[in-house]
């Protein structure tokens, strides 16, 4: 093995290498948790519809498909903001963030696995908390209101 590679591997044991980002997107600075919130509401709505549908296998299949897609979309949107937007100084102030994102990933997976309204609502609650933190880092106040969707659940919105 090349001596430089060996030296680099030894150096790694004493200090971490720097990070070179090879992001899929340009850092355009345009971030908003709203897409994740809408996706979470969709997951809730699909769980509600599955609960009401009974034995109509065709309808259940359609709702389950949309639930799957939006739970994954929710995870994707949260990961992008978490990975690309949040900076170390924000994490210092919001120490719950890593745990919250981890919980969102788990809650979204659970909402996919189950047709349970409770699992979907847990996802929504945590995504709303994520939105509160996001807007706080931008110095924007937020408020909770009943969303104008058939879910009849809360949504956190910025006072812009």
């Amino acid at each position: 093995m090349n001596i430089m590679k060996i030296a680099a591997k030894i150096a790694d044991k004493f200090s971490k290498p720097g990070v070179a980002y090879a992001h899929c997107d340009i850092p355009c600075g345009i971030y908003d948790p709203h897409a994740a919130q809408v996706a979470a509401h969709t997951v809730v709505r699909m769980a509600q519809l599955i609960g009401k549908t009974g034995d109509d296998a065709h309808a259940v299949a359609r709702y389950a498909k949309v639930k799957e897609e939006h739970a994954e979309l929710c995870k994707h949107e949260i990961r992008i903001i978490w990975g690309d937007y949040f900076k170390p100084e924000m994490l210092e102030k919001h120490k719950e963030l890593h745990g919250l994102v981890w919980n969102i990933m788990k809650a979204a997976s659970k909402a996919r696995q189950e047709a349970s309204a409770q699992a979907a609502e847990e996802l929504l609650e945590q995504v709303n908390r994520f939105a509160e933190i996001f807007w706080e880092t931008k110095g924007v106040k937020t408020y909770k209101t009943k969303a104008p969707y058939p879910t009849e659940k809360e949504i956190v919105l910025p006072r812009l």
């Binding site: 680099a8 150096a11 790694d12 090879a22 992001h23 340009i26």
Partner: protein, 87 residues
């Protein structure tokens, strides 16, 4: 001067994958089309490939993964080093 980097992201696949480790030289170096570089943008360092050189100090850089990247125009002073090898 050599610096070690850990790749995060997928825009340089298949040549460089998330989690790959790189040795980058910041010594005086010539830059040309298709060189892989690390450059600074804001508070972060990025890994991209030079697609075009404009005069002595302008570079168009992009990722290898066509479906997952955009192009940026950067200045020579933003460039922190040129890739030497993966390790």
């Amino acid at each position: 001067m050599l610096k070690r980097y850990l790749v995060k992201g997928h825009s340089m696949e298949p040549a460089f994958r998330n989690g790959d480790k790189l040795l980058v030289s910041s010594l005086l170096f010539k830059l040309k089309k298709d060189d892989v570089i690390v450059f600074k943008n804001g508070n972060r360092d990025y890994l991209k490939r030079i697609k075009a050189v404009f005069g002595k100090s302008g570079f168009l850089v992009t990722g290898d993964n066509k479906g997952h990247t955009g192009s940026w125009k950067i200045a020579r002073k933003q460039i922190k080093g040129k890739l030497l090898m993966k390790y």
